[in-house]
Amino acid sequence: MNEDPLLAAVQRGDPRCPDGRALARLGALVRADRPRSVDLCARVRAALPADDHALAGLDPWGKTPPPPLWARRGRASAPRARRLAAIWSALSGPGPRWHLPLWLCLALLAVLAVVLLLFGALQRAAPPAP
């Protein structure tokens, strides 16, 4: 049972809300604007390819990542979750999902190369042992 009087007023005309009548009218106005009822069964049947493998590349989430867990568990604010989602989206790019692991591997290799270079430079710079 939802206890928010505003929601109850808009959804069911609950009179507990101070402006219940106006809100009920608002809800009724929006719900009165209905699209035409259409049967999509034949169209969905036709849209499914005969071979299920043809659907393998179709991502149910489109280009948008699924709602991040960190936002749902309240470990981060919504703006932070949105920023993280944007980074995920940018890294994923329009191509296939393996772009992200590829970028991570390249970044790791770059870090490793920098560490090796620094280590080599330090070795050369160190005075020779007596």
Partner: protein, 208 residues
């Protein structure tokens, strides 16, 4: 106590519906296309209504709803019986809608877009209600006012309002669908209602 039997009946109906959804999705997961068609029949009106209130375009709403069902079939092996089908459908619908918004500019711009009869939206908003007009004309006028008011809301508020008001979902489900905290849903709903009340004040006062 007067609500007791009605509430328990409603609860039983929901439980039956959830059990049927589960059985249908189990069949869909095994590749049964007729089970998917049964799901289409069950949820098509809801999803077309959801998209319709977001974009105000009948044909586009039908296409998007159709796309949701195709994606359900494509992702059937990833569906977990712990997820409620309705919530899962709306999450796919939400993500499709976000992709649509990213791909193109917003459908309704008060300056550029025209209402179905060629009037600009701000003319529709400014026009006095056609009190003497026949019913059909008055209904069209109301529809245009409501669509323009919804279109003027920020996308996040519009989606929350449509899910709550038209689809009748509780805040908890909306938060799950949109992947945002319940407090954010509530705040968006309050802002949306305030904005809509301001824009449609004359229509709401008519009946109050």
């Amino acid at each position: 106590m007067a609500f007791g039997p009605a509430v328990s009946e409603q609860g039983a109906e929901r439980a039956d519906e959830a059990a049927e959804d589960l059985a249908l999705m189990a069949r869909v997961r095994d590749g049964d296309r007729e089970a998917l068609v049964a799901i289409v029949r069950r949820y098509q009106d809801e999803l077309i209504g959801f998209f319709y209130h977001l974009c105000g375009d009948q044909l586009r709403s039908e296409e998007l709803a159709q796309d949701v069902f195709v994606r359900v079939y494509a992702a059937r092996t990833r569906w977990q019986p712990t997820a409620r089908l309705r919530t899962w459908l709306y999450r796919i619908a939400h993500n499709l809608w976000i992709d649509q918004l990213r791909r193109q500019r917003p459908l309704l711009s008060l300056d550029a877009e025209r209402a179905s009869d060629g009037q600009r939206w701000h003319e529709v908003l400014a026009a006095a209600p056609a009190r003497e007009a026949p019913d059909e004309e008055h209904r069209r006028y109301l529809r245009q006012r409501v669509q323009a008011a919804l279109a003027a809301l920020p996308a996040g508020q519009r989606e929350v309002f449509v899910l709550a008001c038209d689809q009748g979902l509780p805040y908890r489900d909306i938060a799950e669908i949109l992947g945002i905290p319940e407090g954010t849903v509530k705040s968006r709903m309050h802002h949306a209602v305030r904005a809509l009340r301001d824009r449609l004040a004359d229509l709401l006062e008519d009946e109050a």
